[in-house]
């Protein structure tokens, strides 16, 4: 356990010392929310503003992009070489990839939570009557994204390929899911396509939680995220090969 804590602490330290990752998950995300919120200004339904919409939807986008933080933490060139020493050490294989998943999850979850704590009062954004549910629902989504990033690294054995594939897939799913603007009013085909994107359902779950105080989709999303996290972590165990680090 001590060895695992050591590896986890080092992984966290490396992530928090990476100015690009910290900036992307805080300043860049905040800037996107402010710009899109301002450009699409005006009140939305029920007195909610564009800031409400973009804070929630871009936060989900950020959570999913946590997959790339994980792949970076796992195989980024400068990190990969010292990580090789962990491979050489008596550490068990699962300690290595589980540590990367947990550290990426903690990193993303901490930064996204801090961002919400700062932005919500500033932009008058509501996370629902009890924000704890919102924060709780973020956890399995963040964890599943981190596990997905590591799983892709284990399958494709390369950070660049993983990042390219994930970035493309997440952008398409978020576009279809209405992260940047709603596609529902753009014809039947796009309205149908939007329903196929799991991001649509994620958005739905977080929006009804924050705007309607409804827990209708809380448990389905929470359980799905947890199951996906478990499956991806198990998948890492199947595909993880120490050779990929050499």
């Amino acid at each position: 356990m001590r060895r695992f804590i050591s590896i986890l602490t080092m992984d966290l330290r490396n992530l928090f010392k990476n100015p690009v990752l910290v900036g992307y998950n805080t300043a860049f995300a905040a800037l996107m929310i402010l710009i899109l919120g301002y450009l699409c200004g005006g009140d939305y339904a029920d007195g909610k503003t564009a800031y409400q919409y973009y804070t929630i939807s871009l936060m989900i986008y950020g959570m999913l992009n946590g997959a790339m933080t994980a792949s970076n933490c796992f195989m980024e060139r400068d990190i990969k070489r010292p990580n090789l020493r962990i491979i050489y050490s008596p550490a068990r294989n699962f300690e290595i990839y589980v540590s990367k998943i947990v550290s990426s999850f903690l990193f993303n979850y901490t930064l996204h939570s801090l961002l919400l704590i700062v932005l919500c009062p500033l932009l008058n954004v509501s996370l629902g009557r009890n924000p704890v549910f919102f924060m709780l629902l973020m956890a399995p989504v963040e964890f599943a994204a981190a596990a997905l990033g590591i799983f892709f690294c284990c399958v494709f054995h390369c950070e660049e390929t993983t990042s390219t594939l994930l970035s493309l897939a997440i952008s398409i799913l978020c576009f279809l899911g209405g992260t940047f603007f709603s596609l529902d009013g753009m014809g039947e085909v796009l309205a149908f396509a939007t329903k196929l994107s799991p991001v649509k359902w994620l958005n739905e779950a977080f929006f009804i939680l924050s705007c309607d105080n409804s827990l209708r989709l809380f448990w389905p999303v929470f359980i799905s995220g947890t199951i996906l996290s478990a499956l991806m972590t198990l998948g890492c165990g199947l595909f993880f090969r120490t050779e990929d680090y050499i």
């Binding site: 070489r81 090789l84 020493r85 050489y88 120490t242 680090y245």
Partner: protein, 312 residues
């Protein structure tokens, strides 16, 4: 001395290419075993398999008489590895790197503090312990790269070309450190393509090329193989048309290599034939610019075994 590791018929293929062709060797406790070979000889693949990071396609490795696959974690605990690339966290200090990597081997508290102090002293980095690695010179990083591998006092240290691209001062520091490790009873496997390093530190040498072991022995025993030979290196102003056959007609000549204006002739010792070689060149109107002769060296052994120079 007891045998600490035995490698039997180790094989590795990458796609269609056979990178290791069933090599076998052993290393005794307290030895410095140098694996010598040019790029692509299979040295790093051998090392990667010995570190258990890469699977072999055949053969077995015994550590203190037991297959390493059966004692993988205790085997890893007993070895220290110096990878070819510098494997350090650049944003962390020397001390933080050492502390972290040593902790992976179960060192905590006072034992960890002591191990870190010793490793810093070993690397000669006590005064830079709190500086970030990214501020270090190449030589200092290399020294720290080695210190991270020995901080937990392994029985066997495996070093994969640890002196690549460093200044002579740091190289000397590293070589003398390895001798010190040996004097403390540590066993070292050391790959390199620098002949002078092998001359300086080896207890025994393995010469590899194209995935096979070509020769194995001490410096002295390997040199014995060519002790009955000498080599002339003759530089002419402009090499004309003397063929190899004409040199072979001179008594004692064993091999001839002509490379531009440089003619390398290997001849049997005890047969004084230099005057006849010079006459032959003069007869063909060759103007000799320089003549040197070489005694038996590992470079010559390597050339004889592989037909090419180590850094070709």
């Amino acid at each position: 001395m007891d045998t600490i590791m035995t490698v039997n018929h180790l094989k590795k293929n990458f796609k269609e290419a056979s990178v290791l062709k069933g090599i076998s060797f052993y290393i005794r406790q307290g030895e410095v075993l140098c694996i010598l070979g040019p790029n692509g000889a299979g040295k790093s693949t051998t090392i990667n398999i010995l570190t258990a990071a890469l699977r072999s396609d055949g053969g077995e490795i015994l550590f203190k008489g037991t297959k390493i696959s059966k004692i993988l974690r205790s085997y890893k605990q007993s070895i220290g590895i110096v990878p070819q690339d510098i494997s350090l966290y650049e944003e962390l200090s020397a001390e933080q790197n050492l502390r972290f990597f040593a902790s992976l081997y179960g060192l905590y508290g006072n034992r960890l503090n002591k191990a870190v102090e010793e490793a810093l002293t070993f690397a000669g980095l006590n005064d830079r312990r709190r500086d970030k690695v990214k501020t270090f010179s190449g030589g200092m990083k290399r020294r720290l790269n080695i210190a991270c591998a020995i901080a937990h006092h392994p029985d066997l240290v495996i070093m994969d070309e640890p002196t690549v691209g460093i200044d002579p001062q740091s190289r000397n520091h590293i070589l003398s450190s390895i001798k010190k490790l040996q004097s403390q009873g540590m066993t070292v496997i050391y790959t390199t393509h620098y002949m002078e390093e092998v001359e300086a530190i080896s207890s025994r040498i393995i010469i590899m090329d194209h995935g096979s072991i070509l020769a194995e022995g001490t410096k002295e025993s390997l040199k014995e193989e060519i002790e009955n030979e000498k080599k002339y290196i003759i530089e002419v102003e402009e090499h004309g048309g003397i063929g190899h056959d004409e040199f072979f007609a001179v008594e004692g000549v064993r091999s001839v290599k002509i490379d531009g204006n440089v003619i390398e002739i290997t001849s049997l010792k005890g047969i004084e034939n230099l005057d006849r070689i010079i006459s032959l060149l003069s007869d063909h109107g060759e103007k000799i610019r320089n003549i040197t002769s070489e005694a038996a060296s590992l470079e010559m052994v390597f050339l004889k075994l592989t037909g090419r120079k180590l850094r070709d």
